[in-house]
Symmetry: C2
Subunit: 383 residues, 2 copies
């Protein structure tokens, strides 16, 4: 096992009816800015639950955070914070809203240009405190210190992390997810699954706790992911998906083990260029990474096939091929596509992925050996 | 899954050579009281590593914390804190030292009688900040808010928990465990295993993430526990045991599931009356709880037998009996006894267990139906 540090002070309040507990979590006299997305919370009753809980507090609203949230939109919220003097942010939404709120929290107290957090790795010295009402299980942002923001002007999608950006609390009521469209649920399951894969499917370092945890999350996401398609109104299915997605990226399973994240970094190019759903980019790219890196990842792919898909027999090559096939089949079962051609893209998409890698001179993957050149080869496998 | 809250802000610094990182964790200008046990840290070099890291800080020492730490000893440390004006506590040791340090931290700032924390459930309003250098993987105290203290005068062993008692940081260097006697290592493995059992072996509530996590920890403790007897100098074995023991009681696997804890509460009587090692009390009592509660725990015992011991065939009764047998065999393999007669005790021990339960009017177990009467029946199974 490798040395590591782990610190995660987010308070999780989980379960049915927990939005009413929001009141107890907020500082008295806080001036709260509620940040949310496109208005679905008005239709599904969450807006009412939240504003009922905010009754008596001073608060304002900023709506219109888009999927893959834009720097430009967030900076409008920063203006509102400055003009109206808010000192606490409340994200009500999924990963995009939470990521945006984290960035707003840091940018509001930033001297200088906030985009430098992303391109110059300028550290976040201070940030407004924030809380979360989660409405979409997927990204894990509700229990981590990460934020990913897209800048339209420069066609970039980049990440930031800072311990200053941990939410003070996150309220996870699985019932909020009932009204989500099937596509968003399926995207969330696949996104969370691949978060686990990025921290698991590398090379072994003799870390059974982390491996068992990761396998437990992947098994849960596969089983409950299939169930949610059949029984969309089953509370336990919703609860198990939500808790699995949070655990998939709260830092715990990544302690002391190598991490990959190349599928994520390659996927950003497809999102900025074509507006493709984040999970959809991953479902296309991951099987290519597994195939291209099958020698480096051999032991973990074999273990994954064994544990998740009962693949015990055949040659090493056969077992690897079957495991990649099963992963792809799971994504397809959830309704995602797994080839560029299926989403109407061809060779042109290869450069959309390779160019940002070349520009940023990234060397991706647990062995830091995926450059633009290797990315092109991986994408070619997914035409 | 049941509703739950989870909050654990302990910063973990894990790995080889990490004691040197102590300096970065301590507040400048802190007046630090280092709290430790019987002096083994002088022999194994840990004292030197810690005091080297404390070079330049103002610090004092309080040694002599015993296993199952005494209220009376802790109150002497409280006196020292008051007289010499310490404002930060540093626990260097295993669960006993950490539990004692937590109680000292609360008692030092307590108005009134600190024993009221235990017997009157008086809340901890404030406590001195504390940090931990862990030297013995077992109790999980390094990453939780719990403290268990024994009062010699009244022959009581009682627990306390408060969010004010989370360590600010815990440094976990698996190399500190190399010099531990085999008995302490074995006790730690069994203690951690039973911490998991107390949060797992109840009744199912459809919580796959928690179940997979718990099973992963139990599998790790069984496998690495056997390995540590064969390969005591293997770093990864030590590291995996230490991380598993911490995870066994940091609150995570207990989220949203019923919990038992009856073996622990019954075991306290054997420790206060006969000075028996905590883990040894558990190894004797747990098989009795499993046998006595086999109908209430049936589904989870069958699952445990299947996952941990490959027990797939036979009648329900046979599979339960074999699973209990395998658990007992594991404890014996680690060198612990599993019957009262083996540690020289007879029927008199039954009352030592039953009396505190009667006195405190406890109703133990996940179904709150183990009173002194049932405890007598359980202990009778372990003569």
């Amino acid at each position: 096992m490798n040395n590591f540090e782990f610190y995660n002070p987010v308070k999780i309040i989980f379960g049915k009816g927990t939005i009413a507990k929001l009141r107890e979590q907020l500082p008295r006299n806080a001036r709260i800015l509620m940040v949310y997305g496109g208005g679905s919370i008005h239709r599904n009753g969450i807006y009412k639950q939240v504003t009922d809980a905010l009754n008596g507090f001073q608060y304002g609203e900023f709506s219109g955070i888009e999927p893959n949230p834009h720097y430009e939109t967030c900076m409008k919220a920063v203006d509102k914070v400055h003009k109206e003097g808010f000192d606490f942010l409340l994200a009500v939404g999924g990963g995009s809203v939470i990521d945006a709120t984290k960035f707003i929290a840091a940018a509001a107290l930033c001297d200088g240009e906030p985009w430098d957090f992303f391109i110059r790795k300028k550290p976040v010295e201070k940030a407004l405190p924030l809380g979360v009402i989660l409405t979409l299980p997927a990204t894990g942002s509700e229990m981590n210190e990460r934020s990913i923001i897209s800048r339209v002007e420069t066609n970039q999608k980049l990440g930031l992390h800072s311990q200053k950006l941990y939410p003070k609390f996150s309220i996870l009521d699985p019932e909020t997810s009932y009204s989500l469209p099937k596509r968003q649920i399926a995207n969330g399951v696949v996104d969370a699954f691949i978060h686990v894969v990025e921290q698991y499917l590398t090379y072994p370092v003799d870390s059974p706790v982390q491996d068992y945890y990761a396998e437990g999350l992947m098994r849960t996401l596969i089983d409950e992911g299939r169930k949610v398609l059949l029984y969309p109104n089953d509370y336990n299915v919703r609860a198990n998906l939500m808790w699995a997605a949070t655990n998939a990226l709260n830092g715990l399973i990544g302690c002391g083990v190598p991490q990959d994240w190349s599928s994520h970094r390659m996927g950003y190019g497809l999102t900025t260029e074509y507006g493709m759903d984040h999970a959809q980019t991953l479902a296309i790219i991951l099987p290519g990474v597994m195939e291209f890196k099958k020698k480096e990842k051999e032991q973990k792919i074999l273990r994954m096939g064994n544990v998740l898909f009962n693949i015990h027999e055949g040659s090493v090559d056969e077992r690897i091929a079957r495991t990649i096939g099963e992963v792809e089949r799971f994504f397809r079962h959830m309704g995602l596509k797994t080839r560029l051609s299926e989403v109407g893209l061809g060779e042109e998409a290869i450069e959309a992925v390779a160019m940002p890698i070349e520009k940023m001179q990234w060397k991706l993957g647990e062995n830091e050996n995926i450059t633009a050149e290797e990315a092109r080869k991986i994408l070619r496998l997914r035409l």
